[in-house]
């Protein structure tokens, strides 16, 4: 991968040549091809989908469904009908909770984990509370991996849902998704399994059939796509058993019948005009990723993450606590740390004064910070446009910051 050429694909570097962007886990930068695809839609088609029968509307519908097919192929779905478009991971997970709500009774339990982003924690906490079910939380080990032995004890005959993330947005550990799902299925065949793949898709090869999850959620904007669009993958057999929870145009077959007749999935879960430009842009983003290759991206990102861990350790010794995967093979593009004498907020602000963008705080994962006894962390997350030089500069500035504070 040629980094100079890759940087040229991202217009933001023309506007900010000195930008060192180490916050791609929050949102990835956008390549020109993605921006152009949205603009082309607005300039050249600009019509609604599945409504008009004039040529421009058909053109939009075709482009829209091509995006669905691209997503399906990218994640290995059996058919594009397993891909529901949403507004993002958060919307996908909340939709899943709503879809499953009627199945949950007070005898049941819902299992989630201590390393979740709030958007894969709060929907389950709320659902459990509303339906008077029990919420069970899989703890993390001292090194920040999911406690699989504890998981085995938490899943039982009354476990209706297990929701966990493929990659932690704080620690960057890649969880053994297939193995975890195999464990859950061996304990309860009926449990609906949901994977938050917001930090995994585009970073590691994802094959939904190999994973065998029932639902998988991710966001477009974290894989170089537009904001405001996301995906909920659902197993087709399950989707068509579920009743819609949002009602309106585009999702109904017979609205006048006494018992309203709804379309099959995914249409039944996509009421109203969707984010057409964004979804077309998401298709372009995936095509962009495929032109580089997920394996190549993963190799580049993990090489940087490992380099960052080593360089930070070398520079700050006992003063730094690095939160990263214990096992180098489980390392994704994310590394968080705490540094004695430099609060994450001050660190992020002072780095910002030098055009270095990092994330500071609880990173929408308060339960994990509590479990690891941390008040706040600084997070680095790498992407294809980052280099080892970025990390060297970061460390130089961190050393300066420690003399200021």
């Amino acid at each position: 991968m040629n980094i100079t050429d890759i940087k040229k694909a991202f217009p933001i570097f023309t506007h900010h040549p000195d930008l060192i962007y180490l916050d791609s886990a929050a949102t990835a930068l956008k390549p020109a091809v993605v921006i152009a695809s949205e603009q082309a839609y607005y300039e050249q088609c600009s019509t609604n989908i599945a409504r008009g029968i004039y040529p421009l509307a058909e053109q939009t519908t075709t482009a829209f469904e091509e995006s669905r097919a691209t997503v399906a192929r990218f994640i290995g779905a059996r058919t594009p009908e397993e891909v529901i478009f949403t507004a993002g991971t958060t919307a996908s997970l909340n939709l899943t909770a709503d879809l499953l709500a009627s199945r949950i009774t007070k005898e049941d339990n819902i299992v989630t984990t201590a390393l979740e982003h709030h958007s894969n924690f709060l929907p389950w906490k709320e659902l459990a509370k509303r339906n008077k079910a029990e919420l069970r939380i899989v703890p993390v080990t001292e090194t920040g991996t999911l406690h699989l032995e504890a998981l085995k004890k938490l899943v039982d005959n009354h476990t209706k849902i297990v929701a966990f993330s493929a990659t932690s947005n704080v620690l960057g550990t890649i969880n053994p998704v297939s193995e975890i799902i195999r464990i859950i299925r061996s304990l309860n065949k009926e449990t609906v399994i949901i994977v938050d793949a917001a930090q995994a898709v585009g970073h590691i090869p994802v094959d939904v059939v190999a994973w065998d999850a029932d639902f998988i959620a991710f966001s477009g904007h974290k894989l170089f796509g537009p904001t405001g669009v996301g995906v909920l993958f659902g197993k087709q057999t399950l989707l068509n058993q579920l009743s819609p929870v949002a009602f309106g145009g585009g999702m109904v077959l017979d609205a006048c019948a006494l018992e309203t007749l709804y379309k099959d999935a995914p249409a039944r879960f996509e009421a109203g005009t969707p984010n057409i430009a964004g979804i077309i842009g998401l298709g372009a983003a995936i095509t962009f990723i495929e032109s580089i290759g997920v394996a190549e991206i993963h190799a580049h990102e993990t090489k940087l993450a490992r380099y960052a861990c080593q360089a930070l350790q070398k520079a700050f010794g006992d003063d730094i606590r690095i939160l990263a995967a214990k096992n180098p093979e489980d390392q994704s593009s994310i590394v968080s740390f705490t540094l004695t004498g430099a609060h994450p907020h001050d660190t992020a602000q002072l780095l910002g004064e030098h055009n270095i963008c990092v994330r500071a705080g609880l990173q929408c994962a308060a339960p994990l910070h509590e479990a690891l006894n941390l008040s706040a962390t600084t997070r680095l997350s790498f992407s294809i446009y980052n280099t080892e030089h970025d990390i060297d500069l970061l460390i130089t500035r961190l050393k300066e910051i420690r003399t200021i504070l």
């Binding site: 907020h345 001050d346 705080g361 941390l374 504070l405």
Partner: protein, 124 residues
Amino acid sequence: MSSIYQDIILDHYRNPRNHGTIAHPTHQAKALNASCGDKLQMDIIIKNDIILDVKFSGVGCAISQAAASLLTETVAKKPVTEVLVLEPQDVLTLLGVPLSPSRIKCALLSLETLKKTLNSQKTA
């Protein structure tokens, strides 16, 4: 870009005034900044409606710690009624640097904690 880390802020961050706890405060409360995890506690002794002593403790960034230091320095020995009417702008004026919206939250955690403490039930 001019740094918000001016001498006055760094001085109060490195050598915070009124840092610590009070053994038998008449009022005590805690507040939390949910986005960054900063926690602040204030211990206060009020007698005849005057803040006789005030101390703060907890973890935080330079801005939240300096703001707490400056604020406690300002309100010590003042009548409670005078302190209760303090506004966010008063804290920002004490700090004297322009802050972005996310950092304003850091600065105002001290005022929130202070008011919560003054409005809390008497502990002793």
